[in-house]
Structure formats: structure tokens, C-alpha cells
């Protein structure tokens, strides 16, 4: 079970990313490998069409290629959409380090654009002291106008291996025994560390 192909790993990364409310670590190595394999598949396909191989074989390869491409595109797309939604929040916290270099560049640009847009349509017309994009007014101590992902939502998850007794909240009142290969519905917030450490998969 452990020896998984890169496509399987990509599928897992994609599923996790899709189910998690916040952005996860960018799988740089995996994406790189997946792209190389996709390119290889494309080359094989070209060879097949040149040699006029069996149509069925060609279409099977094509299907394989299409699926891999979809996974890759969808993975990158979900990440971009999360970045779009939680721009400021991501750029202000250590979530920023989870982005790839290109994504960071994209996020920076998006922030500039959003700032300019809100600036010229709303903020510049408000009186002094109320013109910040992040704070309601200068008397707010913290940034209180930044949309953040809902970490309290419930997610479906599947354990990869035995985790053992796991504490769900800070007080230690709720404890579940996480057994390998079992399905659970838990708050994302409480299993955040496990997802980050790759010990649990979201479905």
C-alpha cells in the first residue's frame, strides 16, 4: 500500500487541498514530478500517433493523461482560489510560507489590485482615520477587517495509521481513539496538526 505512484500522491494532495478550509503546504517536488510524467506521457502519445498504433491503446493513454492533467490543474486552481479568498490573511500569517514562489508572486499582485480597487471605490472617500483596508478605524488595535477561513468546519478524514488517543479540544474533555484506516468526522481545527504532519487524510 505504501509504495504509491506520483499520480496517487497527487490525488491525495488534491483531495486534502479540496477538503481543507485553509491552504496547505505546496507540494513542490510532487508537482514537479507529476509535470515530468505528464510530459513523458505526451511524448509517448505522439509516438503512438506517428506509428499509427491501435486506436484503443492511444485512447487509453489519452485518458490517463487527461486524468493526470485534470488533477494537476485542479490542484493548482483550488490553491489559487483559496489565495484569492484569503489574500490578506495568508499574507499576514505564516501561511505565507506554504505558497510556492509563483503563488507568492500571484498573491502579491492580487493584494495590490484589490487594495487599489477598494481604495478608489470606497476607502479614499472615507474620512481620515477610517481609510485602512485592514482596520475599521485607527482606534482598533488589531486588523479586524480581514476575512479568515472557517477552521471550525467539520471535515471527513481517514487515518493512515494508528494515532492513538487524540485530544480534540484544549481542555482535554473530548478524546477519541484514532484507529488506522477508519473514517471520522471531526472539526478541522482539532486535527489541523495531523493534516499538516501527513498522518491523516481528508476525504
Amino acid at each position: 500500500m505504501e509504495a504509491k505512484s506520483d499520480v496517487d500522491l497527487l490525488k491525495r494532495a488534491w483531495r486534502n487541498e479540496k477538503a481543507a478550509p485553509e491552504i496547505l503546504h505546496f507540494e513542490a517536488g510532487l508537482v514537479q514530478r507529476a509535470r515530468e510524467q505528464i510530459q513523458l506521457l505526451e511524448e509517448t502519445l505522439d509516438e503512438f500517433t506517428e506509428n499509427r498504433s491501435d486506436d484503443l491503446v492511444v485512447s487509453l493513454y489519452q485518458m490517463d493523461l487527461d486524468r493526470a492533467l485534470f488533477l494537476l490543474r485542479s490542484y493548482l486552481r483550488i490553491r489559487l482560489q483559496k489565495i484569492e479568498n484569503y489574500l490578506v490573511h495568508i499574507s499576514k500569517t505564516n501561511l505565507w510560507n506554504r505558497l510556492s514562489e509563483q503563488e507568492q508572486r500571484f498573491a502579491k499582485r492580487c493584494i495590490e489590485i484589490m487594495e487599489k480597487h477598494l481604495e478608489q471605490s470606497v476607502l479614499s472617500r472615507l474620512p481620515y482615520g477610517y481609510q485602512s483596508m485592514l482596520k475599521q478605524s485607527i482606534s482598533s488595535d488589531e486588523d479586524d477587517m480581514v476575512p479568515e477561513p472557517q477552521l471550525d468546519t467539520f471535515v471527513f478524514c481517514k487515518t493512515k495509521s494508528d494515532v492513538g488517543a487524540f485530544q480534540l479540544d484544549d481542555t482535554g474533555e473530548e478524546i477519541v481513539d484514532l484507529v488506522a484506516d477508519d473514517l471520522y468526522v471531526l472539526r478541522y481545527k482539532s486535527i489541523r496538526g495531523l493534516v499538516d504532519g501527513g498522518r491523516i487524510d481528508l476525504v
Partner: protein
């Protein structure tokens, strides 16, 4: 004049804050007025911002659903700043895609079959797909690669033909 009143108001607020006065116990008309003024300003700002922000979110989702050029009926509904925002945001996405050398706007649904059956809705003309050209005249049916068909479907020039 307006600026001055606003300045007075800010000074008053600062004074309340500095003295750490409790609005419930220190009954002072000026303070009440200032707080109410402040709260309504903040409230109006929240409303304005969330209105514009929500619109911006819808606008940016259009880039994924429709493409780089908005149809006229949508463009008419945007104000100048929003149109600009859409264009800039589109370029940001395109810059990201060209850095990766991968088009992310196709392949929006999981593929079932590499080929799909499509019906042409509008006169598209001769199109070169892979190694052959086909002529896409209205109402004609074709069996082509999904990736080739998707951009046309997005623009509303084609639709998937389901029996």
C-alpha cells in the same frame, strides 16, 4: 470646515480613550455623540466594504467561469473601478499560468472520456484541431477532443450534445 469638525471629533475620541472613561458612568453629551458618530461611521464602512468586496469576489470568479473577455451584459453592470479590477486580476492569473506554462482555465470538470460529442451553436468557421481542420457550422454535430471543445463551450459557441 468638514475636515475641522472631523478633527474635533477625533480629538474627542482620543480624549475618551486616554482617560479610559466608561461611557456608561460618565454621562457627557459630547462623549455620547462622539461614540455614536464613530460607531455609525464604522458600520457604514463595514457595509460599503463588504458590498464592494463581495462584488469583487463574484467578479474574480467570472474569470474562471467565462474567460478573459466579459460579455457586454455583464460589463454594463460593473463600474469603472470594477472593470479595471477584473482586467488586472485576469492579467495576474495569466501571469501565473504563463510562469507555469499551463492553462488552468480548461479541464474544469473531471474527465470521463477524452472525446465528447458537441453541437455547434454559432458559426465558428474553419478551426485547426491537432493535425486536421474541421469546419464548425451552426447546428452541426462533432466528435472532438474535450480539451479542444472546452474553450468554445465556455464562450457559448458550442454545447455538449447529450442524447
Amino acid at each position: 470646515m468638514l475636515y475641522n469638525t472631523h478633527l474635533c471629533f477625533l480629538l474627542l475620541l482620543r480624549k475618551i480613550e486616554d482617560a479610559n472613561l466608561d461611557i456608561q458612568t460618565t454621562r457627557n453629551e459630547d462623549h455620547f455623540g462622539a461614540v455614536i458618530h464613530h460607531l455609525s461611521l464604522a458600520r457604514n464602512k463595514r457595509c460599503l466594504m463588504s458590498y464592494m468586496y463581495n462584488r469583487a469576489e463574484i467578479i474574480q470568479s467570472l474569470r474562471w467561469k467565462i474567460g478573459p473577455v466579459l460579455p457586454l451584459e455583464i460589463q454594463e453592470k460593473l463600474n469603472y473601478s470594477e472593470e479595471e479590477y477584473y482586467k488586472n486580476h485576469s492579467t495576474a492569473i495569466e501571469a501565473y499560468m504563463s510562469q507555469l506554462d499551463l492553462d488552468l482555465t480548461v479541464d474544469m470538470v473531471p474527465p470521463k472520456d477524452p472525446y465528447i460529442r458537441v453541437k455547434v451553436l454559432d458559426d465558428i468557421g474553419e478551426v485547426c484541431l491537432g493535425d486536421h481542420t474541421i469546419s464548425l457550422t451552426p447546428q452541426s454535430l462533432h466528435f472532438i477532443k474535450r480539451v479542444d471543445a472546452e474553450p468554445f463551450i465556455l464562450q457559448g459557441l458550442m454545447e455538449e450534445f447529450l442524447e
